[in-house]
Symmetry: D2
Subunit: 318 residues, 4 copies
């Protein structure tokens, strides 16, 4: 970096204030002139907003982590409803839990100190634990009942087609990810589908299921191929991250926007924590891309990002 470059790029850190009139947009704008993860969060907000305003941009969203059980189903539903996501890649677990909520079941939480939990006791009570949220095992019975009664015409359809089929059967009143994706024809990919309670019920109750995972893989490559511009938002990492990334090698421009929210870090070499910069070497992220990784629990920062985007949409309308 040249002397001039450097000096042009540096500005004073602003010791920002929060007062009675502060809005989420003010907060994010203030954080932008700071550093550490606060600044990364502000950049992520700004980049996502640009992705939304760029009508050429196909927005790929990778979702790993138990965000449905913990209470963020509605936020993700609204990301989809607002048009902030064009292609969703997620885990079988999130879809299983989404189905549970769509069928009227609920996850549980409470004023219980994590250290006071006795897992042996929970096991006796048939309550499954996901850190500090819980799912009574009987929820699976409801899922089983629902899945076993499905009339599946084609046992070799792509997983994404099956998920669309499933979404169409869910109550219009629910805030289900499956349902809104079906309604809005947003493709959902789930590359590790058989790694889920949902797929297990399907395999147990329907003979000779062989949903086509390869067709999904090729369809995803085509979506990337056809994108004039690609933007990605990765929550948590895992298979959804890699599946999006491997497809982006086939996107003419690679990703020109990239956001990542994760608690994982680069040093142990796993993909979940890999920096977005690393993806430039692979041609998955464009070398001129705007990108930001926020090291944070998504349960805190994803709602903040949504809140910011929603307010920016409202502001743009005025």
């Amino acid at each position: 970096m040249s002397e001039k470059d450097f000096e042009e790029k540096l500005r004073e850190v602003e010791q920002f204030e929060i007062n009675n009139d502060t809005s989420i947009i003010d907060l994010i704008n203030s954080l932008k002139n700071t550093g550490f993860n606060a600044k990364r969060l502000a950049l992520a907000c700004e980049i996502y907003n640009e992705m939304i305003n760029n009508t050429d941009c196909v927005k790929f969203f990778g979702l790993a982590g138990a965000l449905v059980p913990v209470g963020l189903q509605r936020i993700i539903f609204d990301f989809l409803k607002e048009g902030f996501i064009d292609v969703l890649v997620t885990t079988g677990a999130n879809l299983t839990h989404d189905l549970a909520e769509a069928l009227g079941y609920h996850h549980l939480q409470g004023n219980i100190n994590i250290d006071d939990i006795d897992d042996k006791d929970l096991h006796c009570k048939d309550i499954n634990r996901i850190y500090d949220v819980f799912m009574p095992n009987k929820v699976y019975e409801g899922i089983e009942d629902f899945i076993s009664k499905l009339n599946i015409s084609d046992n070799q359809m792509p997983v994404s087609s099956f998920l669309k089929f499933l979404g169409d059967k869910l109550p219009k009143t629910s805030h289900s990810i499956l349902r809104i994706c079906a309604e809005k024809e947003i493709p959902i990919f789930c590359p590790a589908f058989t790694d889920s309670g949902l797929a297990m019920q399907l395999g147990f109750h329907h003979q000779n299921m062989n949903l086509n995972h390869f067709k999904d893989m090729l369809d995803m490559v085509n979506l990337a191929w056809d994108a004039k511009n690609a933007g990605i938002c990765i929550v948590g990492g895992g298979v959804p991250k890699n599946f999006i990334m491997q497809s982006l090698q086939f996107c003419p421009t690679s990703a020109t926007y990239a956001i990542q929210i994760t608690m994982d870090r680069p040093e142990p070499g796993g993909l979940s924590g890999a920096s977005l910069r690393e993806a430039i070497s692979w041609g998955k992220v464009n070398e001129k891309a705007k990108y930001s990784t926020v090291i944070s629990d998504a349960t805190i920062t994803l709602p903040l990002i949504f809140w910011y985007l929603k307010k920016m949409q409202e502001k743009n309308k005025d």
Copy 2:
């Protein structure tokens, strides 16, 4: 936990919504009925608010991490100004950077990718780096000039008295931590004071400095001893955390409220990441205490907590 206890404590996870009318209070209230770090953040907000409303509670605040250089000086200033902190324990580094800002110097940040930074180049330019914020080395010259001209009557006063003396000399217009503490007579303790640029300048320019660290230690014990009730907020851990904790063993009730914001974790056994529950075994935290540790970067969550507290104060006034 008895069956009944358990069932009474469990409630449904709420799939919360963010809409155009959402306020920070709504958000935090929503997060309370979720899990993971979102819930811990909501609990931390609620606990801090209770600490403030409990007029018997002495609020100890431990601050480690480079929060002044990164732009949170004003937030901490406002925590102090609003009366949310009764005793501050911090690092010499934060005080050095606070002094720099008070004297009119600024830290720098910018649109610079952390990976593009060349530290050898920065060294040539005499710019010191703190992750993605920067301090030109010449700032130290300003601090040196200021410190060297001080007329210090007693070279054996407690560190906290010296910090009060320093704060009184700073411009009334600045948002300095030292200044507001001096003005409001909020004691600042800095147990590792000689581990700072500020102390080095003091030692270089004033013969035979021997500020009394033991007197501070005993004064802090007395503050804990006299507290009818204690509440603690720990940002980042380190010496400030331990110094507060060791004193609380002498508080008749131990801490009855405890909040911790850190990226450190318990497993490697260091104090910074130690759980607040562990402090119960030592008698530092009361066994009936309300406590919450938020695993997060304080640059994101400390402003949110302040925003919530400020709005709750405003609401209570109505």
Copy 3:
């Protein structure tokens, strides 16, 4: 815990010594009487050794993370060769890199500071980065060539059958995971197979591939169902962890031994970092199981565990 229980269980921490005669067995035995992750590592070694010596125990091994590119292919090969693994579940990425090494290609590393890497430059040179190891993109051409020439008789076979078919074609002299598993008839499951370079080449060059993921899922459940006893070793988490865990709900005894090596932590609620204790609530791990999670980079601790196990085997022979 009763007073007596407690006192019986507590012993002195031993301030252990390393001297000229120290062996890996001595080291691990010493670490057992300490705490933090050192003790967890010692417990993991001891538990794995018990799994091996228990002839009724089916040993499930979940492998995520880029361990083949980084140089641990041979260690995993030897785990398999020595009979320390009965069922392997891994990522498509590890299999892709294993195939590359088996075909005579190599990953690269070097005396390069991670901060001096320019990913744009790497992209120009067609070198893909995985933290601080590298793979020239032309390796994919070799894989493509190999895969495109395969004569695949059944495009609907299970993924595990395809992996056996592949392993049988690889050079007997290589230290390939695929090859040794084929030779020793150790099943490999790869639930997210289409999330890999290997599967992409397969999909591009062979029409109508639809390898059966559901059959694998059911086969895995049967393996768990038939196990008199189950032991698990999870490296890194991810889909391999969950796939093993979901199957163990069908194991009559659940897992009675469980080891986990990961840098992930429980607090953000994701499965990779979830405690093994949590799995008790689900009936995946037995309530009387011996278990240990080592928070560490597997590149350091997996070789240590192997070294210990190998030496214990040798010792037992004497």
Copy 4:
């Protein structure tokens, strides 16, 4: 980096083997040709060995974290005894626990699952917890008794002089850090001394203690100033890290060797996790320095490093 540079620096990753003849030196040598933290560990071993063999190099060692209670007192004792440390900077906590062990007390550990611990119960039993090791509170009574009877001639001596005075009083048979430092005249600095149980007993039982922290600070600067060459090994971060770092700005060459073992990471901006590269901008680490940060629990890697160094010493003698 030029094309040629790059290619010269890159070598193949070696898929290393562990067999019956493997020694710790073989293992570390093998890890050097891998990546991730395994390679960083191998580099750390190699760098430390060079520090030892460079007779001009003053070896500064910063020790934070509860390594004495957990059972690494003897390893640190042996680092000191073997001449691997020239200047020690540590926390008051480690010295307090070292004194306890030196006086014949012991820390406790046991076959107790961390999740089954009830801290309220421990509090009733007067047992203090440090993650999964324990210290009966009565140990403090022994420390109190010892400290209260000391005949301290000068209540304004530097902390380091007091620590020497203390070490000289401890049993020759103990493996105490304080004792071996006193015997070998290795200076110990403890900048946050009053943040410890040891200092509290001193303050309670001896009137008008005012040990001189400023003198220590200046002495440390002089040690750095006089060093022809400096090497640093940082365990855990915290005040010991910063205290060494701030002094090294006065070392004519800055540090030319630097090792760091920590679980902390750079992104949240705190000093403990700051990269060693960042220290180049400050002039604390030389721009030509060899350096390596190992992201790991020191309870696992510090013994490995010691084992390697000890064997290398033995090998060099042959």
